[in-house]
Symmetry: D3
Subunit: 320 residues, 6 copies
């Protein structure tokens, strides 16, 4: 499907060539390629959920989101983006995590993304639980240096530990900061809310220079103005987008592990991602979709759409 | 139940006469009558879904929406409308479509609605997929001439073909325009969004004189102002209301076949329908509810309510 | 666990001591205590649903909401409230209602709450259907005199009867008013909407001095301004909070018995409860969660959060 | 549809006239008639479930079983029975039970069946919980005298009381025996099993002359031999068939309120009903299907088939 | 992955190389190859369900069955078969059916299987509804001449028409016989049951020389003896296996479109397939799994296992 | 509730004291006690599922099985056993496993059961995945020496490793044998089946002296004769019962992680447990119920019943 050494602008398999419910169960029915293929962007599944503290199931995120991505067509009618006409994008499969050992899995993921980075492929990842962002950032840091982050989530994920463990889905951004992976002054966390173990749950984030946008700050309005501020904050260096589906309210995304009420709307989620246009996005992920709790499959549909919108704001994408 | 030749103001069976979960599974537990009965308005089921391109299941829309309409009481407390005290309304059953042959089904539907029109009955239809609007418009056109449309949907449904077929759930408004069924300058499409096969998906609609209201234009606000514009646009002739449930965001209506994120809220859906008051509404439909994907039955409840609101804005309905 | 005669500030069992999915299935994994224990506040389950007119299932509300409350942590990060550091709160189990006899159940509940009141415990109740508020108010009235109410609901619940019965889930506030349990001028009903048996469904409420806030009055905006008015209205005496989950739109709370579209958002629900801070709240309930219709468990998660927010606005709770 | 005073052999609406998913949601899509119509057999829904002690939901049994009966065709290919070519059978709707009051509901049901009996109609009833069999037997007894019963169930339903109540779904056969409705020596209970409040749970039944067939007696084999014994036992007088769906193992019928493992197979259920051929069957019921727990709708499909098999063994049915 | 012109013994991706929930969503995680690759056997999806008369959804059969096949390991421990060590087997994707037009889809399928046959690949097909067997048999007939069939099903599928259509999921074996595709004396139909439009539903089959094994003949016992008879009947020429999942009882396979109670057990299904060992099997299919009705995914798991067992009885498979 | 130092015969909370859907969500609504209380038998939850290789969710097994045990009454009517009149039995809560670290969890479980053993309490455990049996056996071995096992399962669970890990849900009986925890000549494995990585999957078991009963050996018949053989084989020393719910066919227990078709019936499961009467049972477990896949809750009902049957065959239980 790809000529050795030359990038091909792969198109998703269209609904007039194969009915939507047929064809390969890859992301958007793109070709299933490998790290060895010449690509600008690779969709990667990371089916890890043993870092989750409440409901499991995110291990099935990659399979279900790919399945429900089957409806997506190539053009972004709302924004004019044409990702597949601009970049060479394919689905490059899953990371073979060790589902019995979280620590080893984190090492496996880091090693895998080292190769992704070495291949010059921008990774757009489908989780899996949020633990995966730590090894991904480790790999990206080696190439790019400290990274700015647009982080959408109900939780800050900056716990020092969970049940005594330093690696789990509630700790990655603390570890990342400690390890120098992040440029704290270029980090924004949007959608934080809920109950906590202390009244100053977000102080640590603020102490690192992060901009914390609590969910209440977002209610009932467009986030376009906020995104102007966000772009100003995170610009000037490489930026990573990490979107925990539980940043959205459970009415939009019930299929997740640690649901918190009062979250963002999917419209706001779209505005956040569309508002990242122009940033130097070096990678992105969509995590914490738990299909066993997604009885209507609506969460996987949302996840697939958010991943598509991430593709649309990658550097080099042309707009009509 | 009906005296020959004289219209009766049928009331829904009340919850103090039969518990809500008993009684006939007709729409709002109205009498089950036929085309031969003297009626102003007929609720008609069209259990067709072989025009659907992704998930099927809309064939069960009529049964499930009727079932979940059992809670509806006669008065519209929000608007003051009293449809059953104003018009003779009954459930007149289903169209016997041929589920193995889309083309024949379209012919069966047209013939059926020819009889509905001949009987002087205003049809309020429960789909079924959106293909059904084409034969319904064909039948109405014969009586009323070119029709204005208030069309709520995620998709414009103006494809030239799908998989080479000219008749399918993504093409009816193109066919209707080509056949002269519509008065293009009196057509409004609300809620359009999502991905497309080209960046100018809505240009064809605009070229016909349609007013296209993309979903983004609606976010975070009341649509009452928009409906003033809509009324001005579509007034001056017969108007048909076609409401594809996927016009709403999947958080409000997960049980549908081709879900698109970022849609209208049900509150906006109510405003759109309530905003049609005063127009010369000659028919209406609610399509694309797919019960197998409506695990909590919320979509059928929404569908039943929207159908009720359609009844409330028919000409001749009295308001308190 | 409690020293005889001395109140203990019970903490919910934390996620670092027992994983979220283990431990006792009490509310927030608090200790399971009894009326004989010295407490400020008792969480009480009332598993009654034979007062429901459409879908049953609220009998499982107490078990499911407790189960899904397992994720809640002690501090309210959004408001700074520290209920467990301020008050002695425990789960004091269920009322042994008679599921075959509604009248007897109402008597059992009243007798049970007489003991709760006698023990000086503020009841925060998990329904069950809305019938339960009548015997609860009866018991509270004996101690406090006529009570003001913040009532969130899709329905006014002021029917004179249902199917000829004076006691059912659609009549409690009418009975309460007739029995002198309420201070009508300090009652607010928020979220009312839907269809009715008459066009003036809310007139009776208004005639009693209630402030009726129809759902439409709430759409698309923050309810913080409304809550200023509400506080002014209900202040000056004991206040009870009664939150029927169907006050929220079904997109946020599909798992309920008599769903009505066009309701409040969960964000508005949070604002209403947070807006009760400062009132003399003497009890509260969350009713009508029906787990069999809550396929994604989102409704139980919402219910658990709303109950937590009720704890946060009880008199005596400290804020950081 | 029916000529006054003359019985018509109504045929179910066929799949070649209306697709299976359309048409009236009556049992087998038979005509919806009334007690005033001349009929041999009436299908009657009794949507009562407030007699249930564990899970509710049987109130939706009549609606769901009718819905899922849509696939049934007129001939019994396995046995050769032709019920619709032999008897005048129609769906005569639901009993308007009072869902807030069990005692009144029992009186309403008895009064309703008095009229059914007076009309000379053999009732085949869709529950609802098992409480309904008591008022049905009361009405039948007035005409037929003491009745023999073929009772399939996991439970003997001969408790003296439940929670102090003498009327509930666990007591009807005790009440019926006490009231002289049954001919104890012509009663058989098949499928009993599970845990109990005493080790001699079935002694009372045996003391009345009932033949008790515990589930274990049925495992791994055809019940054709048992049915020879049963026919010999219950013959010689009027016979009523009461089939509680929980007589079947939950693998065949998960959607029920008080599931007990180790039950009959559906094949055995078919053999029991087919084995009733030749008896003087004066009525029959299928109870305790709870649709909210029937996620795959398999239980309603089973229920519809069992009701059809009951029709096939009514006196007067011709076999090919 | 395959050397041009030389067959490779492809192994399913093992659970120690990639966790079960990761990797390609092909059948058993085999390589995704094409008709151009040298293969003995190809797994082919045929996502057609517009031939279905009741519930749709079989269009998702190929995707879901492949997904749930992820647990299958290479060796058949029960029978000793080693299909992947014996034959070159891969997943060769889906047939691009036209979901809006049944007749055209049938032509597309036939043309596709013509190519499969031409490539020397034995097709093992995943439906889709049972209509697909007709074009498959047409293609196979061209190479092999009249074919014997082991047909497991609840229905004979020999209707002359459905709703006037000669092609639908209830007619394929009638058409096949009429077109000379079958060797009627080498056809066996197992599991037939249910209701019918006439009392002699199976006479037509018997008239063609088919052996009809009604479900009742199978109850409560091993089918090993039956399979001796079946082998004797169908031997002596090419044999096709067509397994409609509704041949099994709904307790084993609830996720299907036209469920009939009283069916075969999955154990009997395994015996039937294992009993085909030694026959000259030239193709096989598993049809009518409808994932939207398979809430626990058990039906897809059964389907995947039955497909695996089909592979195990293909000519050339070695046994240990 | 318990007098210090003296055992009390705790009775489950009865349905006439508290409706089945109320009361504490402990096993059978027994008192929630602790290791410090004087008890003969303790029900213990082990909410671990990170040892699972396919679907997760067994972490919720303890909560859901306890919930669904609410229907169980004290007497075993089928066998006459009276466990609660014979032994002091209570629910002693969950083991605080570390859900992020399998190895540490295994150590936590072993330490916990060391205390259970030290307290003289016979553990009856609710899993969790099958990994938990290893630390339980380790603790029991210290007191009892090598142990005989009645092991019901679809899988032998004697892999040398999974994905390179020596501890996971597919390895416990290999580790146990290697560590000398088992008396190999007194081990029976019943229900094994499915596909494998080698054709001689069960050879290792046989080499240890285990009696391997493949599922096929059990089909279509009572296991009472087998259990005579089993009792003879495992008698003469301490016996542990380990029941993996996937030993049953998915039709009886769909809610599990690694479903294999063709399994035991629940009737056979009951016969196996009832057949253990008279053995020196020192502990028992029921593992691998995964509630997210148990849409009808039937699997949890089965699990609760099997646990109850285990209680009935403990030494010291009296039979009527």
């Amino acid at each position: 499907m790809t000529e050795q050494g030359k990038k091909v602008l792969h198109q998703p398999l269209g609904g007039n060539d194969m009915p939507r419910f047929g064809g390969p169960a890859t992301f958007m029915r793109l070709p299933a390629l490998t790290l060895a293929d010449p690509l600008d962007v690779g969709i990667i599944g990371v089916p890890l959920d043993i870092g989750a503290s409440n409901r499991p199931g995110a291990r099935f995120g990659p399979r279900e989101i790919r399945d429900e991505s089957r409806m997506l067509r190539p053009f972004n009618v709302s924004t004019g983006a044409d990702p597949f006409g601009s970049l060479s994008i394919a689905d490059i499969g899953d990371v073979p995590i060790n589902t019995f050992n979280l620590e080893k899995s984190v090492a496996i993921i880091e090693a895998h993304y080292d190769k992704v980075v070495a291949a010059g492929i921008t990774p757009v990842s489908i989780g899996g639980d949020h633990t995966i962002v730590l090894p991904i950032l480790r790999a990206l840091k080696k190439k790019y240096g400290p990274i700015g982050v647009v982080h959408v989530d109900a939780h800050a994920d900056v716990n020092d530990h969970m049940f005594g463990e330093r690696i789990a889905h509630g700790t990655p951004f603390r570890r990342a900061m400690e390890e120098g992976l992040l440029d704290g002054n270029r980090v924004v966390q949007i959608g934080l809310r809920g109950t906590g173990y202390s009244p100053d749950e977000y102080q640590w984030s603020r102490d690192q220079g992060f901009r914390v946008v609590q969910a209440e700050e977002c209610w009932y309005k467009s986030l376009a103005p906020l995104m102007e501020e966000v772009r100003a904050k995170v610009a000037g260096g490489p930026v990573y987008i990490s979107f925990d589906i539980d940043g959205l309210d459970p009415s939009f995304a019930p299929g997740t592990g640690t649901a918190e009420v009062g979250g963002l709307s999917v419209h706001q989620g779209l505005e956040i991602l569309r508002g990242c246009k122009g940033l130097d996005v070096i990678g992105a992920d969509l995590v914490e979709v738990s299909p066993p709790y997604d009885t209507s499959k609506a969460t996987s549909v949302v996840g697939a759409n958010l991943l598509y919108e991430m593709l649309c704001v990658l550097p080099g994408v042309k707009y009509s």
